[in-house]
Every structure is written in C-alpha cells, then in structure tokens.
Amino acid sequence: MNPNLVTALTGYLPYLVPEMLLGAAACVLFLGGTWRANRHLWGGVALVSLAMAALALSLNPLPHYQSASIADASRYASPVMLDRLALLLRAVSLAGGVLLVLLCWDSMPENRAAEYHACLLLMVAGMGLCAAANELVTLFLALELTSIPTYLVLYLGKSAAPDGGLDAAGQEAAMKYFLLSIFSSALTLFGFSYLYGMAGTTNLPGLADAFRRASDLTAASEPTLPSPLMGMGMVALVMVVAGLGFRLTAVPFHFYAPDVYQGTTTANAAVLAFVPKVAGFAALVRVLGFVLPNLSHEVFTATLSRPILREQLPILLWIIAAVTMTLGNLLGLLQDNLRRLLAYSSVAHAGYMLIGLAAAPRLLDAFDAPVDGVDAVFFYLVTYGAMTLGAFGVLQYLSSSGQKAETVDDLAGLSRTRPGLALVMVLFLFSLIGIPFTAGFMGKFLLFAGALDVPPSQEATFWPPDQRTLFVGLALLAALNAAIGGWYYLRIAAVMYLRDPSPLAVAADGKRSWPTLAAVCLCGALTLGIGVNPDPLKRAVQSAVPRLTDMVSVSAVER
C-alpha cells in the first residue's frame, strides 16, 4: 500500500482528539449519572471536558504534512478535512458548547443533569465533525451525532409535570422534531446517494475532481451536456438542500420550529436555535463545494457542474432565502409566545444567512469583492449565535429564578425590576434588528455587501434577466425584512422599558442562576465586542474560508 495513503488514512486521528475527549467525557457522564445526581458536579465536568477539548484543539490546530504528496493523498483519502474552516467552526462549536452548558445549567431536573450535559457534549463533537467532514458518510454520521442527542435532550429537559415527565406540548415537540429530523436525514442521504452514483466516490474533493474530469471529457467529445447527468445532479442538489434546509429552518422545512420551540423548555429551544444551524451551514458549505482548497473554483466553472452550481444553485437559494426571511418575519409579527417569536426570528435569520450562500457563486465574477458570501455567512453565524443564545439565556435566567417568561407580556416592566438584565436583553434585541455598534449590524452589512457586489451576468441565462438586479432585489427585500423584524423585536423592548411591571414579577425573586447569568454576560460581551470591533472576527472568518475569487488567480498562476 502506498505509504502516503497509510499516512493519510491514519494521520488525521491525533487531530480529532478534541472530539474523542468529548465523546469519552459523554460516556463518563452517562455512566456517572446513575451514581450521583448533582447538576453542579456534572455541569462542572462538562465544562472541564470542553476546556480540555479546547486545549487539545489549540495544541494541535492544523496538520503539517511532510510533503505535498502526503497532503494530496490526505485530501483524497482522509475522512476529515482539517483546514482553517474546520478549525474555526470547531472552535466556534466549543465556545457555543460552553455557552450552552452554562445556559442549560438549571434547566433540567437534578437527576437528569448528567445525561443532559453528556448530550450537549456529543452535539458539540458532532458540530465539530460536521465542519471537518471531507466525505459524505462522515458528514452524515456527524449530522446524526448532532441530531440524536437532540432527541434525547428534548425528552430530558421538561419537568413541569409533577412526576418530572413531559407534558403534552413537550411530548408533541419531541416527537415532531424526532420524526421530521429522521425524514430530513433520509432526504439528505438520498441526495448523497445520487452524488455517489454519479461520481463513484464519497470523498468530496474526489467528487469535485470527478466532475472536472467528466467535464474535460465531454468538452473534448461533444459540446452539449449529457442531460441525464444534469438531471441527476439537480436531484442531488435539491435533495441535499432540502434535507439540510430542515436543520437551517429554511422555509418550507421550518414548520416544526415554532411548535417545538414553544413546546419545549427555553434552554432546549436555545440548543435547537444554535446547534442544528451551525451543523447545517457547515454541511451545506462542504457538500456544495464552496470550500475545497484549490478545487472550488474549478468545480464552479467546470462544464458539467457549472450549470448546476453556478446558475441553478444561486436561484434555488435565492428563492429559499427570500421566502424564508419574509415568512419568518411576517409570522414573527403575530406571535405572543416568546419562544415561538424567537423561533420565527431564527427562521428569518436563516434566510438572511442564505443570502450569502446564494450570492457566493455569482461573486466569482466580481471584481475584488470585499466579502465572499461564504465568509459573511460564517461571520453572521457567530453573531447570530451570540445574540440568539443571549436572548434565550435571558429568558432562561428569568424562568429559573421563578419569574414567568412565556409571553411577551410577562416581560412587562423588566427594566424596573431587573435593570441590568433588561439592558442586556435590549442589546440582544437591537443586535437582532441590526442597529449599528452591535454584532448584528456588522453581520447584516457584510451579507448585504456580498449581495450588492454581484456583478451583472456576463452570459445570457434562460431565467432571470440579470443577476445583478436579482441580487440587489434580494438585498432590498432583506432590508425591508429587517425593518419588519424591527417591529416585533422592538415590541419586546417596549414592553420591558415602557410598561409598568406586574405585581407578580416584583414578587417573584427567587434564586439566581449564576451559570446562566454568566452565559448571558458572555453573549452580551460578544455582541457588543463584535459590533464595536468586528475586525478580529472578520479576519478569522476570512482566513478560514478559501476565497473563490482568490482561487482564480491561484489557478491562473498554476497554469
């Protein structure tokens, strides 16, 4: 066997120590939970294992290959791609894991704390693997590693019923999520099978390479495209986008979100708002070939994949993005339940993020684009994580300290009873609206800049008339949507600041959940910090995403 191949097949293992650590810690927690029921103990263990995973990641961040041939062999043989994007997203999921562990600290019954935290750790490992997946099977397994613990978490969290079991709404939520998630996994798998059928490999760079070589062949033999392949490619594309769209809560796969968020606990809703989104966007970006070093550009320009990825994909994502943000925001206007409102908000934000992905293939033609589409998506993903987890954290803190935080009206007069908390909540809400000097503004700015930078189409496409007009339209729609969204976020702010507190709220001042408060403060610091100084995050994201446009020059030099 080729020694390079051996290195490639085994050499990645030391770099997956963080995920292994998390898995081992999860096992310890699952077993330990039977021995002792103490939320502080198990929460502490979870935090320590996350810290150790972070340490392992920082000690061994990026692989150094001895030679170019080994690097090449690992690219085509290794199940994981240990590039900068993987590093960034693994770091983000570890950070998100810390926030989630803190946020969920007091959300579950004491005797379920160990299992709950174990599930969180597995999800974090799953997100990390998703971000690093270099192969369809690994990717699928990683996606399942994030979703299966989620099913458990949905059952573990609720303790409103006297026996600690689930109430009807909680059961409905858990069941609904379970069934639809399985269904979406099946869709994704179906799409993957088509990809495998077309290329004969599950390796992502291999897939891209197969497309390129097939294009070279077809270009040499006949000028027209073989239509069956095109058809198969379209089926694969639609199925993958549909399957992953469930995780992103993209319309029309969003139906579960409001019901599930409302039915389950606030902490669980926070988990659902963050984990599947990170995993889904990472998977989508990997599968669609946005981040293949040295190959992405060729995938997007090869004769065979070009019509699918360059022309159909932006349109498909354009439509999904437009519908997702509009529907999310319009339905958000009608909500009174806070979790349901935030569910629609998370739908709307998925729509904003999809703008970046939709614009990315078209930005290939752009002159010196300041953003790449894909990097804007990940920038937004981080800011979204900070502000949404923060908002859920505030609600979780309130409910764990005995104040009801179910409907918008429950927050009335929060600025009088808890001024600090109200101020932080307002920060999150304004960030969600996209007010300057908060993280949300920079995120939106970069997404808009991507969409507005799409150059006019050079080639005539069968529909629509002009790409530029189309994407300026999308940016305009997003701007109007941000204003619509402003109305319901502002409603919460208005209730907190402009109304008098109800006597119940004043009376309810039970115990304080310090870990949740810590999570809220961390989120607040992130939201404000990124808003005031977005440069570090922008740099991190930019260096993580291999720019499609830069690759033009690279490939030109190579030839």
Partner: protein
C-alpha cells in the same frame, strides 16, 4: 486639534455611562454631572468652531477652479483610523477599510455647535420636568448627543450611517419612557419609520461604494481601483466618472463615422449603466433622509413623536435630529449623485418641499395644541431647507444650511417655551389660555421674540434664511418656470407662517387674562434663573445671526461653492445632452440616405 475633537465624542459617551452607573437614587448628582458635561461639550465645540471660523475669515476668497476638490481643511480638521479593513495588499498594508474618519468642515461646524448648545438647554429644561428614572434619562440623552455629533462629524459613509441609526435607540427610550399618554405608539412608529427608510439608505450607500470600483475597472482595466468608504474620496471618484464617461462617448461620436462602432456602443452602455446606478443610489439614499426630514408623504411620525416626547426630546428632535435628514441630502445625495439630484431630486424633492411648506402651514393653522402647532411648523420650515437645497446653487444651499441652524435655534426655543408653559399649567390647549402676557412677562417677551425670528422678521436670523432660499429658487438655471412657481409658493408659506404663529401668540399672550385651572401645581411664577439661562443663549444667537451673519457665511462658503460647482457641472452635462449636434450614428444614417 483632533484630540479636542475626539473628546467631543468621548465626553457624551463617558457621561452616559457615568450617569447610568450613578443609580436612580442620586438625581441631583446626575443633573449636575450632566450640566457640567454638556457645558464642557459646548465649550469644546465653541473653541473648535471659533478656530475653524477664524481660519476661514482670514482667507481671501478664491475662485473654485477645480470644483471637485474640497478645501484643505478637510484634512487639517479631521482624524482617521481603520475600523474594519476589507482588503489588504500582498505586503499586509490595508488599502481599503471602513474607517473611523471624523472631522470638521464648513457643512458641519455650525451644526455641531448647535447640537452642543441645545444639549445644554435640554439638560436645563429637564431639571425639574424629569423626576422619574433621572439617571436613565440623562444617560439616553447623552447617547443621543453622541449619535448626533457623530453623524455630523463622520467623513466615512458607513460610520455616518452607523451614527445615523444609533440616534434612533436613545430617542426611542426618551419618547417611550418619559413621553405623554400615547408614548409607546409614538416611539414605535418613529423607530420603525426611520429604520425602514434608513435601511434602504444603507443599501444605496453600500451599493455606490461597491459599484464605483467595478465601473472604474471596466473603464480602465489596467488600473486596480480601490474600494473606499471615505466621503471625500467617493465624491472625487464620482466627479471623475461623471466627467470622463460622457467625454469617452463624445470622443467617439465626433470621430469619423466608421470608427469602432462596437466600442462606441460599449461606452454608451457604460454611461447609461452609470446613470442608472446613480439614479437608484439617489432614490435609495432619499428613502432614509426623506423620512428623517420629514418630507410630506412620510411625515406622519413627526407630529406624534413631538407631541408625545418630553420637552428635551422635542427640542433635540426638532433642533438637531431633523437636520440629520437635510444634512444627509447635502453631504451625500448632492455630491454623490449630482445628475440624479438634478434630474429627479430638483423637481421631485423641490416640489414635495413646497407641498410640505404649505401643507405643514395649513395643518399648523388648524391645531389647538400648541406643541402640535410647533411640530407642524417644523414640517413647514424643513420644507424651506429642502427647497433651498434642491435649488442646487450657491445661494440656495447656503440658505438651506442657514435655515437648518435657524430652525434649530427658533424651534428649539419654541419647544422650550411650550414646555415651560406646560410645566406651569399642565395643559397645551390654546383655548385654555388668554392674556398670559400680563401674568408671565418674561416668558411672553421671549415667546414674541422667538416667534418673530421664526416668521422671518428682517434683522433676525429667520429672515435671512428664508430670503436666501427663495432667492436661490429664482436663478434656478435650466428650469426657470418651475423655479419661479416654487419660489412663489414658498413665499406664500412665509405669509402662512406669520399667520399661524401670530395667531398662537395672540391667543395665548394677549387679550383678556384667562388662566387655566392650576390648583395643586404650586405657585406659578415667571421665568426663573435656570429657565432664563436656557433661553437667553438661543435668543441672543437668533439676533446675532440676523445682524452679523458674516462668520457663518464665510465658514460655510468654500464647501457650498464646491457643491454648487458639482451641481453646475451636472447642469452642463444635462444641457450638453440636449445639444443640437446629432450623435454620430444619426449622422451616419443621414449620409446613408443621402447616398441613396
């Protein structure tokens, strides 16, 4: 220089944080802190503007030979630092970035001073009027000052936008918490109206900055144009493209008939697409600024917000925040989209401005609530600012800028006076009052004086502003007829303005004494020292600007001249397009038929 200037931004921020941290218990400390801070800001702003104006007064006027280059002061009185690098060169230097680029020039120097001045008045007028959550009130007030000063001072287009939207947040709370009975609705309506408009403005701003390098590189593929968000650089780029692209086309049109038809077509298309870009950018920017001004169809948030806002909020809203809209037009729309400003802006916004003047005046006539009357008078007065601005000549734009300051002084003072009256009698209905002149002498004196300034009595500031605006409309080159019509209708508005203002003064202060029911409101006295200190500076400035406006004009004239030069160039281009010389392909067709 720049250190002082940065302090002008840092001081409000620090005060806001400090007064928030002081806690709700220490109201007196918060008030004194706020007063000290606002006085310090005023001092700083005065030093800066005096320095600036002194430098300008020494200058001998030079002819604006190259209209697109702004005077050197833009560099001398400004400071810049990279905020978010967007593109770095191979050797690591940042060559395009969103910058923290702030400074003083002729367009903003007086507006910054006005902001600082009205802040002092706002703090003083809230001394006894605000008794609940005092620390929060002052914290938001100073965040508002930070936002307003920031907008005026920004030379970076994204920074401008950031401060522009930042002003929404504090005002939302100021109206929503300390406002009148309908405050929640008013606050949300204000917020959503302005947010919607300004988000579209953001798109326009970003689209312009991103499109410029694209078009430049199409025109000259050998150069690698830089992405920039700095307003002076953007203006220079826009001006260069506006000059070069039509010349490119003309060059080929006048060449021999069979000379590169493909290239000609390409260049024409480029010119057309550049014009389209300008038009859309103008319309997008207009959305946000027109809401803020407010222009007539989108003005409905204003009377509501004014009536519900606490006095300090009204003063700052009318005095400063509305100017953000007109200032945006002046700073961004006119120089960045001059052709579109001429083609769409002048007829559309000029027309809407006159509609606003008349409509606002009639609405004011119909009001019974004094505060609402002053609010509608703002709609009317801001119409003059817009009318002068879209005269697009030196006189008109100077008048517009002056009218912004005038309106800030006089309407700010009017809201203060109305607030003082309300604090005494807790009613704003004009029918409840009568002959108050014999009861509150000083208040009446100030009211009459400010009314005179507002209606444009010669010798006071309002007269100069209105006169300049209307005379600007007369030499409205190119569209003579409409200019005259608009100026005439604007002059009718002056008369209407005198009518409703004097009616209000007569109703409240003259005639037989009719005091509203005021038991339980304490002893009603005339203006006290604090109130005098609030009003006196504004009144003195109204008089000073009226009798000695030279420093004002001197300080603003270089920039205004540049803007006028840009607008003139646009006019020449528009005229050249209707020139009788037929383009080449028409001549070609003519020669072809001759041959047959």
């Amino acid at each position: 220089m720049s250190g002082l200037f940065l302090l002008l931004l840092a001081l409000p921020l620090g005060t806001a944080v400090a007064s928030a941290l002081l806690g709700s218990g220490r109201a007196v400390a918060v008030r004194w802190l706020s007063l000290a801070s606002s006085l310090a800001s005023l001092l700083l702003a005065t030093i800066l503007s005096v320095q600036f104006a002194a430098a300008r007064l020494d200058q001998t006027p030079t002819d604006a030979k190259s209209p697109s280059t702004f005077p050197d002061e833009w560099i001398k009185f400004s400071t810049r630092a990279n905020l978010l690098p967007l593109h770095t060169t191979a050797n690591g230097t940042v060559d395009s970035a969103i910058q923290f680029y702030v400074g003083i020039d002729g367009l903003n120097v007086w507006l910054i001073l006005l902001t600082a001045l009205l802040m002092v008045s706002s703090v003083l007028v809230s001394w006894t009027a605000i008794t609940e959550r005092v620390n929060e009130f002052h914290a938001w007030l100073f965040v508002l000052q930070l936002g307003m000063t920031g907008v005026f001072a920004s030379f970076d287009i994204v920074l401008f936008y950031a401060f522009f939207e930042l002003t929404l947040v504090p005002l939302f709370f100021l109206i929503g918490i300390w406002g009148g009975p309908q405050r929640q609705y008013a606050a949300r309506k204000f917020f959503i109206y302005t947010l919607t408009g300004s988000l579209v403005t953001l798109l326009g701003i970003v689209a312009l900055a991103l499109t410029l390098p694209q078009i430049e590189s199409q025109r000259d593929p050998t150069r690698t144009p830089l992405l920039t968000f700095a307003i002076p650089e953007l203006i220079a780029k826009v001006d260069a493209l506006n000059n070069k692209l039509p010349k490119d086309v003309q060059e080929l049109e006048q060449a021999p008939p069979d000379f590169e038809p493909q290239l000609l077509k390409e260049r024409r298309e480029r010119l057309d697409s550049w014009r389209r870009v300008q038009m859309w950018v103008f319309l997008a920017m207009m959305c946000g600024f027109a809401v803020k001004v407010p222009m007539v169809p989108v003005h409905t948030w204003l009377p509501l917000a004014h009536v519900e806002a606490p006095t300090a909020g009204s003063v700052l809203l009318a005095g400063v925040l509305l100017k953000l809209g007109t200032y945006g037009f002046l700073r961004l729309c006119v120089p960045l989209a001059p052709d579109a400003s001429l083609r769409i802006g002048a007829p559309l916004l000029g027309g809407l401005a006159v509609v606003g003047i008349l409509y606002g005046a009639f609405c004011a006539l119909a009001q019974d609530d004094v505060k609402k009357l002053v609010a509608y008078s703002s709609v009317s007065h801001l119409g003059y600012c817009m009318l002068g601005l879209f005269a697009l000549n030196e006189v008109g734009m100077t008048g517009s800028l002056m009218q912004m300051i005038n309106h800030g002084l006089s309407t700010g003072a009017l809201f203060l006076l109305v607030g003082m009256l309300y604090e005494r009698y807790h009613t704003r209905k004009m029918a409840d009052y009568g002959g108050m002149g014999s009861r509150l002498h000083l208040l009446a004196v100030f009211m009459v004086f400010i009314t005179m300034s507002s209606v444009g009595l010669p010798g006071l500031n309002g007269f100069l502003g209105e006169w300049l605006v209307i005379s600007g409309m007369y030499d409205f080159t190119g569209t003579q007829v409409r200019g005259t019509l608009l100026a005439g209708l604007g002059a009718v508005g002056v008369v209407l303005g005198a009518w409703y203002m004097l009616t209000m003064v007569r109703q409240i202060f003259f005639g037989p004494l009719k005091e509203p029911h005021h038991e339980g409101h304490g002893v009603i006295g005339d203006l006290n020292g604090r109130e005098l200190a609030t009003l006196l500076p504004l009144a003195v400035l109204c008089l000073a600007l009226g009798v000695y406006p030279k420093p004002f004009f001197k300080a603003v004239s270089p920039e205004i001249r540049v803007l006028a030069g840009i607008a003139d160039a646009a006019r020449r281009r528009a005229a050249a397009e209707h020139s009788p010389v037929p383009p080449r392909d028409i001549r070609q067709a003519a020669t072809a038929t001759e041959k047959k």
